[in-house]
Amino acid sequence: MKNKKSKLNLSSGVMSVVASFICIIIGLLVGLVILYCINSENALDGFSRIIKGGFYLMPKGIGTVLSQAAPLIMTGLSVAFAFKTGLFNIGAAGQYTLGALGALYFALVLHMPWYVCLLAAMVFGAVWGAIPGIFKAYFNVNEVITAIMFNWIGLYAVNEIIYRGAIGDMYDLKTTKTYSLRNAAPQSVIPDFGMNSIFNTKSTTIAIFIAVAIAVLIYIVINKTTFGYELKACGHNKDAARYAGINEKRNIVLSMTIAGALAGIGAGLYYLSGVAEWNPQVSTALPAMGFNGIPVALLALSNPIGVIFAALFVSHITVGGGYLPTKYFQPEIADVIIAVIIYLCAFVMLFKGVVANALSGRKKKDVPNSGKGADE
């Protein structure tokens, strides 16, 4: 009995992975076709650069992939966590923006050590996540609508706080961005323990390990704890959760708060690693890192461990896209491929079904399909 059960679980897990891989392969093929349409001579070269991704330019590329993946894991977790409670956290981008403010303010203005800045990013993101949660739980306002509103409110508020008519404390007139952390607040940069010298980069820090550790933590919370049990119960069946005495309103708020906190940490990991600075005048679009959490969560089928790999993959081909010869191609080709893959993610369930059928079809063959001869 037990044996049989573990076998079934395994094959279901394998099917999910296979299905995700099918999406990736189709997405890559579509990318290849696009490359051919644009410039057939250099298509294969360009394609191989995308596929090689971070490996194209060793070891620097790997370092870049890792530093990009860390925040992406966090925003992916943010969306995946909310999914588990039946909520769609489209507000990861806004929570990420607030997280960036928290991290930068504590670093550049208060000159706090990096872990305090990271906590600040978490708290700022959590507050921004909690608001749609509260609206959803107590006023029955759809969290998608509130979150989208708060994405924009957050973005422009943060821009204004940083810029303040060019006299903001964090604003560097020379670069028109926030001050570089490495110069202005070295104590707030996440340590790299020599990783930058290994990868020959400037911003490869232990952020990736922090992100992976948090992903594992989230996996444990969702699957092993009573809290995760309650959250999932609310996500699957609100009425049954209520019947079981679970406070579903509290759980909605908590779920969104934690999702916000995760996205906030993502921003902290990004800015405190010094990958980039905030540019309040150019940043009139929501940070892509926040939105990319949605495809990462989808590709991973909301599994926190899967999120790690999905985020690594997405940053891998994004970095690969950056290595395209700009003479012939735009680096955004990588975004097109990701977009196709993400679009196909919606079909992951379908592929999973196809894979399952293919597997069971093999077993069926030895069943005789003649049933002739009625018995009356």
């Binding site: 059960k5 079934l8 699957h236 959760a241 019947y243 406070n247 018995d375």
Partner: protein, 513 residues
């Protein structure tokens, strides 16, 4: 067409699912113009067999013949083309459409790009007249009764000129009056030459309307009998594989002190402006089964929700074991010894996407037996679930790891009952605990309720089934339009008298019960 005696034949049908043989060499032959019942316990394979006939599943082996000619049914459209129609247990109606729109949905008569409903309306009215199917073609589905929704489903089949009509447990959702009416309609249809397949596990209904009956047990074909030559007892024996006791065995009640005392409970309605429960006062004592009888929609649901904490009362008090729990949370009520077998097992009773074991601890995952420092003790949960599965005979494909959604209705209900009774509650609130279940399961659940009573626990049963009300309870309270209109003793009252109270034709004056 062929000269076969049978309009539809399903010969030697076998259907395998991973881990289970849902149909094992089953043969079903339907004569033209007959009402043929398909009888079996939950999980016996009735629904699978009908899904095969309707083209939703393909048989692993076996053939289907219509009028003696072999046919392939690959999807419901094929079934439709063969004039096979089905009324599903859960209706397939568009809630915000009118009756007429639902009937013509899919085959809308059109002139150019525009609908022309005039002809359709005439045809529907003619059919409705011919078969005594009273509907208002312009009423919106969400506004009409379940009975009228069902008649709409039947008209949908007739409108498509279906010859073979499948009724999947049609009476599960109906009141006794509506059931009587449906029986009449079915007989009418058969007299007009329609052939009917009637899936059910209610023996009374089979005896009342069917000509023949095919019995399945655990996926296997047991036999086909003429109803005229058989008895209820024989049918149930074929279905369950042993003799079934229709009378509930119970000793006289040994009534103890008061467990539950409700005073002047009033609950507002969500559907209309009036109160759903009006000034209800009652007591339940240890060692007795009190039954709240009534026709569906007379405030029972709201009453139970207010009692268990799912809804708020607008006034009144609830004393449970002497303590005022009027404002207590659902969890607090559950902790203090109240168990609730909910009316809607899919909505409230189970998290369908959880495994059976996760559902088994739904009311107690937070207890120290099942968690330590917030971490669920998987081993303890598994062990507990395995014990309940064993003790309450809950059948499923993969034991405790089965996803609840994939289990049959009867076994889902058994799982809920196992969970709620095993909490060893002082008060067990059981709302229609046997709804949609077969005689074997009903017998078992009734004996569990009586066992609770005999252990000195209080049982508050809410039921629509007259048999259940009369057989199981020690005291009957009749609810009509949100009020308790009478208290009856099942030993001295009759079904007819009970019916009069339920219909509001009779009431005890004085109010207080």
């Amino acid at each position: 067409m062929g000269n076969s005696e049978y309009i539809i034949e399903m010969l030697n049908i076998t259907k395998e699912f991973p881990g289970i043989k849902a149909n094992d060499n089953v043969t079903l032959q339907l004569k033209k113009g007959e009402i043929h019942a398909l009888l079996g316990e939950n999980g016996a394979g009735k629904s699978t067999l009908m899904s095969i006939l309707f083209g939703l599943y393909q048989p692993t082996s076996g053939i289907i013949k219509k009028n003696g000619k072999e046919v392939k049914i690959n999807n419901p459209n094929d079934a439709n083309a063969l004039n096979i129609g089905m009324v599903h247990q859960h209706f397939k109606l568009v809630e915000c459409f009118s009756v007429l729109d639902n009937i013509i949905l899919g085959i809308e008569p059109a002139k150019g790009l525009f609908l022309s409903k005039k002809g359709a309306r005439e045809k529907v009215l003619a059919l409705s007249d011919k078969y005594g199917l009273k509907v208002d073609p312009d009423a919106i589905i969400s506004d009409i009764t379940v009975g009228m929704q069902q008649r709409t489903e039947i008209l949908k089949m007739l409108y498509r000129d279906n010859e073979i009509l499948i009724f999947d447990e049609p009476t599960a959702v109906l009141t006794p009056q509506e059931i009587d009416e449906l029986m009449k309609i079915m007989k009418n249809l058969a007299n007009e030459g329609k052939s009917i397949l009637f899936i059910t596990h209610k023996l009374n209904e089979i005896m009342a309307v069917s000509d023949r009956c095919t019995i399945l047990r655990k996926g296997k074909y047991i036999g086909t009998v003429n109803i005229a030559d058989t008895t209820k007892e024989e049918l149930s024996k074929m279905m369950v594989g042993r003799s079934v006791n229709f009378k509930v065995d119970k000793k006289p009640a040994n009534v103890g002190n008061t467990v539950l005392k409700i005073e002047n409970m009033t609950v507002p309605s969500k559907m209309h402006k009036n109160n759903a429960v009006k000034n209800v006062s009652l007591e339940v004592h240890r060692g007795e089964i009190v039954c709240i009888a009534g026709i569906d929609g007379n405030g029972q649901t709201e009453f139970v929700h207010a009692l268990t904490g799912l809804e708020k009362m607008s006034s009144g008090t609830i004393l449970f074991d002497g303590e005022d729990i009027s404002k207590a949370s659902i969890r607090e009520r559950s902790k203090s010894g109240m168990s609730h077998i909910p009316e809607d097992r899919h909505k409230h009773g189970l998290v369908l996407d959880y495994t059976l074991e996760q559902n088994m601890v739904l009311q107690r995952y937070w207890e120290s037996d099942f968690q330590k420092a917030g971490f669920i003790k998987q081993g303890a949960v598994r062990e507990y679930a395995e014990r309940l599965i064993e003790q309450y005979d809950v059948r499923s494909g993969q034991g405790p790891a089965t996803i609840a959604r994939s289990m049959s209705g009867g076994n889902q209900q058994k799982a809920i009952i196992a969970r709620e009774i095993d909490k060893n509650p002082d008060l067990l609130v059981a709302v229609q605990p046997t709804r949609g279940l077969d005689v074997g399961a009903i017998e078992y659940i009734h004996s569990q309720l009586v066992a609770q009573r005999d252990k000195g626990k209080a049982v508050l049963l809410v039921s629509l089934e007259l048999d259940e009300v009369m057989n199981v309870s020690d005291r009957i309270l009749v609810m009509y339009e949100g009020e308790i209109v009478g208290e009856l003793d099942p030993k001295t009252t009759t079904v007819e008298e009970l019916g009069l109270y339920m219909a509001g034709a009779k009431r005890k004056t004085g109010g207080q019960v």
